[in-house]
Symmetry: C2
Subunit: 426 residues, 2 copies
């Protein structure tokens, strides 16, 4: 009887038939007595098509106008979903991000939500309508300009609406059945998780799981919004992301598993600064230069210096897309820092073992490394948090490493559970 | 040094190259020292594509959502035009109808502009930007809903902006070189008019000339906005639509011609109500029924009644699209009115001779009818205004009638002037 917020991505809205299917799903929830608010992405390839159009007229389009252009995508899909609902005999009202009260900062292309003032939504709900909201977009607080939220924007819109409306649940519809213990394309016997904590989901997202974007999970955790990740192609229960994965739900009373899953990420590169004088301030100067160049670092490792030379090597990983920027920034300070040379390696991958249960279970690390060794996988770098262990390995053995780890921690299902439908990033 | 408002239609914005060409034109005007505000339609076939999408999800989509959907079209084109301008080193800001302050009533699909509050436009002009505005759309005064203006909407947006901003001129760019003495596709030797009065342009538009929509000309006349109709494919002067076509402009000092042009219209049908009792109130009952059915009538003719029977016939013309509705409405009152039968004919055409000069020149009618007779054209119905004579003829002889009339009034140019590029209706 409460408010249910749903989010459908572009692959769930690929064409007229897909939109009608989504409309039927939405209407089912309304029929069950809930108020329904739906955030939608742009249809299938719309965003790519619009970006192509932009490139056709300008190699470097202004960000303000790019946002104006791209927001047409959700406008189209939200109107079509509202029409399909109306065709089923229910009334729907679509609203742009601006109309829905999604207030952001003014950073075009990757705006952050700073407030949600859903007056028109609550009014429409009160009038008995199903509400469709354009995901991925908002309006800036100061300049009243149209903004887009960047990657993960539509999921974040949905969770932000759920928080602002005090919804019972935010259902994120996607093209897989939920969050799995590993990417089912790599591990066919990966198992769907019934529940996962915000914390674990954050680590999974940060370590390469693409099912939910980091910022959407962060938003959900901050406001305590229960997120239900599920497939728009089936009626199965998906994965609940909540504060307390122990809470009984759907009759399940299993012990919390030690390991939530194995994530992997092939989007990073590694840079090694060789022969850095082991003096106070040298490392700081290096990371200062990288920060000035707006490079986001992930793992950082500094070896102890060789006694004979007082020189050390510093390695770090970063998104491959930042590789050129970082190398240029470092080359510029070579004379100043006096390092020997730079090594760049983008043939790496990161494999991460994640689980809130590892806090209280010793021996996880040795079991993880043992599994990697048995699979013949060499470890390049190591990084840990309280609920995560990540290693950098050669890109070519990422799949082997994931599978060996998955099996070693008894995560394999008895049969293949996942069907992958092919997805989008927005 | 004043403000120039321009409007580009869908055929002028068909693809990236066309958009870049439009951007160069806009920038030329800015370089010449003017402030420029541009209203744009949706690109080429965008509107048709969006309508197809809508039909794919619902046979009868709600008008509110249809407006939400269709307004994505201008949003895309305005952002692309702004990008192309930025690529030329000038700054542009695009605004939706709502942002531009185009305030309408709440009739979705054919809203009327009731006010223009261009605060953001004047601000952007003050900041030195070129302003691009989405044509065809606005926001309703009371409900703050997105509306579309219906046919001729983008032209009307441009003229309304020009009026609100006190612009020097509203340039309507199209795919022909201006307003011609007849449709160049029918009369290859039709001549471009350098100037035409609002009055004549209104009659031309009402009688089938598709170059400017009636409501845009009406708006221009009401607020005294000089409208310059010209081609986006050439640099030629087009046709000026102004209050006083006598005013010397561009060095032209010709006498005002008697005839502005010959228009034709193949979109009407004729209904004849046969055997209406010639009593007070019978005709009123018929037109009351048609008004209740929201049928727009054009020409109406009632013959004198035959003395022997006291019965009369009433004929009228109406848009073919209203034909079915009108026939149904009339059939419903047959018993009440007691007429004999209904005749429906949609194989008709209307040919109109228009010119403010005919007020003071006798003999125009006889010359017109003489030309038709020489061409073997039979006249079905006749209707006149102070500056127009229209006749209904058989559809098959419309072209002959137009050509014969055009020649009889010495309107033929020495050589073919017009190039027709193919157009759109919005």
């Amino acid at each position: 009887m409460g408010i249910v917020v749903q989010k459908y991505g572009g692959s769930s809205l690929a064409d007229a038939d897909a939109i009608k299917r989504v409309a039927r799903r939405i209407v089912e929830v309304k029929k069950a007595g809930h108020d329904v608010v739906v955030a939608v992405s742009a249809m299938g390839d719309t965003t790519d098509d619009l970006e192509d159009l932009a490139r056709g007229v300008s190699p470097l389009p202004p960000a303000r106008e790019m946002d104006m252009l791209l927001t047409a995508g959700e406008r189209i899909s939200m109107a079509l979903v509202a029409m399909a609902i109306s065709d089923l005999g229910f009334t729907a009202r679509s609203f742009t991000g601006s109309q829905a009260g999604v207030i952001t900062d003014s950073v075009h292309g990757k705006a952050k939500i700073i407030d949600v003032t859903p007056g028109r939504i609550t009014q429409a709900i009160g009038d008995g309508h199903i509400v469709i909201v354009a995901g991925f977009q908002g309006v800036s607080a100061d300049t009243k300009e149209i903004t887009t939220l960047g990657r993960g924007g539509s999921d974040t819109t949905a969770v932000a609406l759920a928080a602002a409306l005090g919804a019972d649940v935010c259902e994120i519809y996607t093209d897989v059945d939920g969050v799995f213990t590993a990417d089912p394309r790599v591990v066919p016997h990966a198992r769907k998780l019934d529940r996962v904590s915000y914390e674990e989901m954050l680590e999974l997202a940060a370590c390469g799981s693409k099912i939910l974007h980091l910022r959407c999970v962060e938003y959900g955790r901050r406001y305590g919004v229960p997120i239900h990740v599920r497939s728009s192609f089936s009626q199965l229960e998906g994965t609940w992301v909540t504060n307390d994965p122990q809470a009984p739900s759907q009759g399940d009373t299993m012990e919390q598993p030690i390991i939530a899953g194995v994530a992997h990420d092939r989007s990073e590169a590694k840079i090694t600064v060789v022969g850095v004088p082991d003096k106070v301030g040298e490392a700081a100067r290096i990371f200062e230069a990288l920060a000035e160049a707006q490079v986001n670092l992930d793992m950082i490792v500094q070896n102890i210096s060789a006694a004979a030379t007082s020189l050390t090597d510093i390695s770090f990983t970063l998104p491959r897309t930042d590789g050129q920027t970082a190398m240029t920034a470092l080359a510029r300070i070579q004379a100043e820092v006096g390092y020997d040379k730079l090594l760049y390696d983008d043939k790496i991958g990161k494999v991460s073992l994640i689980g809130a249960g590892m806090r209280s279970h010793p021996g996880i690390t040795s079991k993880f490394f043992g599994a990697l060794a048995s699979a013949g996988v060499n470890i390049g770098m190591i990084s840990t948090s309280e609920i995560r262990i990540s290693v950098i390995v050669d890109e070519s053995v990422v799949d082997d490493a994931v599978r060996a780890t998955h099996t070693a921690f008894d995560l394999d299902a008895d049969e293949v559970e996942a069907v992958v439908y092919g997805g989008t990033g927005r």
